[in-house]
């Protein structure tokens, strides 16, 4: 019962960049879907998003180090908060990765802790082999208090799906 759909209201504001909603007619250009948002979404819909659509929701850069890499790196991407606001959803969510890893992200991480959906490193899209295309990171360099195991665990890479609870 997977359906592709384009969010109606977003056509007004985002035009071509509007996310597709399942159950809606699939567009001509078949840019790959990199993230699916479902669960407690208004109308019970499932939202599929391409990289372009995600970045259109509020692209920002974040310079930070990660526990898995050496030295600070220049990431590009969208704050989780921007994504959720852009989609009009809120709440805790279960994040799932392509490698079958999943972890629960509390809503406050988006609101308070600056959870960030990294899509680019040094301006280049993150490849799958480099924890792409979407890597949920935190501003560890700015906020050292987040450099703790629970946040490390929530830093899910190869993110594919967010199920809002």
């Amino acid at each position: 019962m997977r359906r592709r759909c384009v969010l109606g209201l977003s056509a007004l504001s985002f035009g071509l960049l509007s996310p597709r909603r399942r159950g809606q007619a699939e567009g001509i250009d078949a840019a790959p879907v990199v993230l699916t948002v479902d669960g407690q979404v208004a109308g019970g819909e499932t939202i599929d998003l391409t990289l372009e659509q995600i970045e259109a929701l509020g692209f920002e850069t974040l310079r930070t180090a990660t526990p898995w890499t050496r030295g600070p790196q220049a990431f590009g991407g969208v704050p989780l908060r921007s994504l959720l606001r852009g989609l009009g959803v809120s709440g805790d969510m279960v994040a799932s990765a392509l490698n079958h890893y999943n972890v629960t992200i509390p809503a406050e991480d988006a609101e308070k802790h600056g959870a960030f959906l990294a899509t680019r490193l040094d301006g280049e899209p993150l490849r799958l082999r480099n924890r792409g295309p979407i890597w949920l990171i935190y501003p560890w360099s700015l906020r050292p208090e987040l450099d703790q195991p629970p946040y490390h665990e929530r830093a899910i890479w190869q993110l594919r799906r967010l199920e809002v609870r």
Binding site: W68, T69, R70, L98, N99, L128, R129, N130, Q158
Partner: protein
Amino acid sequence: MTPRRLRALLAGRRGALFKLGLGGAALLFCLSIAASGLHLTTQSELEARVQRTSVWTASQMLVELSEFEAVLRGVQLGTESPARMWQQFEILYSRMKSIDPPDDRIPQDEMDRLRDQAPLLMAELDEIERDLQAMLAGSVAAGGRVDRRLAEMKLLLRHANVRIHQQRNALAQQALANLGTGQTVFLACTLGLMVSAGLLILLLLAESARARWLLAQSRAAAEQLSQAEGTLRILIDNLPALICATDAAGRCLFVNEAYAGFHGLEPGRVGPDLCDGPQAGLLMRALAAEGPLPFVEGAAIDHRGRSRTLLSTAVSVAGAGGERRRVVFIAFDITHRKAAENRIRHLAEHDPLTDLPNRTLFKTRLRAALAPVDGERGGEGMGAFWPFALHSIDLDGFKAVNDSHGHPVGDELLLAVAARMAACLAPEDMLARIGGDEFAVIQARVAGAAEALALSGRLIAAAQEPFHIGGLPIRIGASIGTVLAPGQGWRDETLLRRSDMALYEAKAAGRGQAVLFRPEMEEAVLDERLLTSEVVAALRQEALFLVFQPKYRIGGAEPIGCEALLRWNHPVRGAVPPGRFVPLAEAAGHAAALARHVLRHACRQAAAWRREGQEMPVAVNLSASLFATTEAVELVREALAESGLPHRLLEVELTESIFIRDAERARETLAGLRALGVRVALDDFGTGYAALGYLQSLRFDTLKIDRVFIQALGSGRPDSTAIVAAILALARALGAEAVAEGVETEAQLAALAALGCDAVQGYLLGRPMPAPALAARFRAAALRP
């Protein structure tokens, strides 16, 4: 050791103990913390290692490799899309890559080995990627290579996985064990903490107890100090002395109540400073002196203006600051004592009746008058002094006034005489009452005898003027002996003795005389003194001897008895009459010795005669002075016992004068003598004592009629015969024998015979003679037919 000393010792070491304990506790505490910390670090490190160990990574790698194999298999079979295969390859690639950057923060032994192989694995993956592309392009060989490479990689990962698992298990075991020892260490640390905390608490408690003890000690000490101070203050305030303390400058620091009371200061007020005034000198001397100054008597005025006498001293004491000295003034108000002393002295030195100086003060003044005047020393070792006259005064007829008018009148008279005599004197002269009616005058600054005699004349005239006492006209007189100093003596005793000699002379010369001392007076006295010493020596040397005068019955030729009479032949003066030497010996205190001598020799002689066959009683004269005691009886008993003379052969002769001295004692002595069985004769009867009352109660064996009456006999005077007749009648009436003394003529003898007298004694019949002569006379009479 007493608890007190132990406590003191502990208190001394307490500080060190406390510090040591505190240090120990702190060290223990730190060690516990450090041990806990170290252990916790180790534990967390271990746990981290377990956590961090990429078991999950390794397993995931193997899983993803297997998944990729499955997808690859699907692609080879045409059931899976190549995109799906690439995605899975990418995931595997990223997994391999994740071990690529070696994380040197955490040592992961087995993982490190895997990590070392990471470049090889990545290179292998790159080969696989190229072979995959070749395989998709249709190369079967490439597909085979991929399978082979994957199999090798799988084997490698599986081995690594097994090792990592083993390591993880070992670490987990170690962590578990560590946790076990950790519990022990933790317990030990906790115990250490508890012990150190307990030790600290104990130390704190001990320290606080010690602090409380010290506080109590110091409070007690302060209390004691304050009590002592209070006690001292009360003591000082209640001392009957005036006490005031000042600093060295004389500023008053303290006064006690007595001082405040004397100076009228309000209570609690400090007195005025003593910088000047009479005490300033005392202050300076006290500061200069070591120890207290000697007490000084001085006059002071109290705040009520009364004159007081103070006995004061001052002493300087070192103040708290060492050099800062203080001076304490102490004074006793001795006003009352002085007054009492003066009163007592006055009483001791004055006659209570006339308030004139008494003998004591008179002698003091006399000595003072004889003290040499300063700076005027004369020759011959004698100090020069102002010449003066000493008058000894005795009132004539005063005793009679006292006897006839009574003592009150006598006292009045003495006061009046004293007042009159005092009026004759110059202010510097002195009148003193020496005895009952004896006075003395020191007449100051007398130029010569005439001036002295002029005063004594005035004094006699004043005494002779009639007095009117209680309405009675009274006449008395005065005799005065005068001596001049220093012309007639310069020692007080000499002057007094010489003035008394002159007075004696004046009395002897008749009343109302003033006699100036003459050296001859003293010669007579000196002669008497010499004779006294000679008679005492003669008595001691048995140079006094007895003669015996016989007594006869009238008409009888044989002596009926004799009277023993004492004789002394002086080697120079010849025979000295007993009337001269006996009083001298008795006055010198030898009456008893004299009597013993006479009694002993008389008794011996009588006993000797008796042995020769002549029983002749012997009569011995005993001095009246011996009858004042019972000595006479003892002497008689002693002489009789010694000689063995029958008591009836001894007769004791005594005079009426014994009844004048002490009649009662005389009676007792007489009774004692009569009880011995000796005869008692009353000598000189009729001349001594007017009253005859004693004759009623006393019995005498013999009455000896005084020679005065006998001498009158035969002179033709009828009254003399009447008296002798009356005495003889009285003797007969009393049952006593009458003996007439001093019979010197035949006429007297005849008259006595006519009157019926029993016995006679006298020169006519026999003079006193030595014992052999008397014995011869006795024998001659016995031979007469």
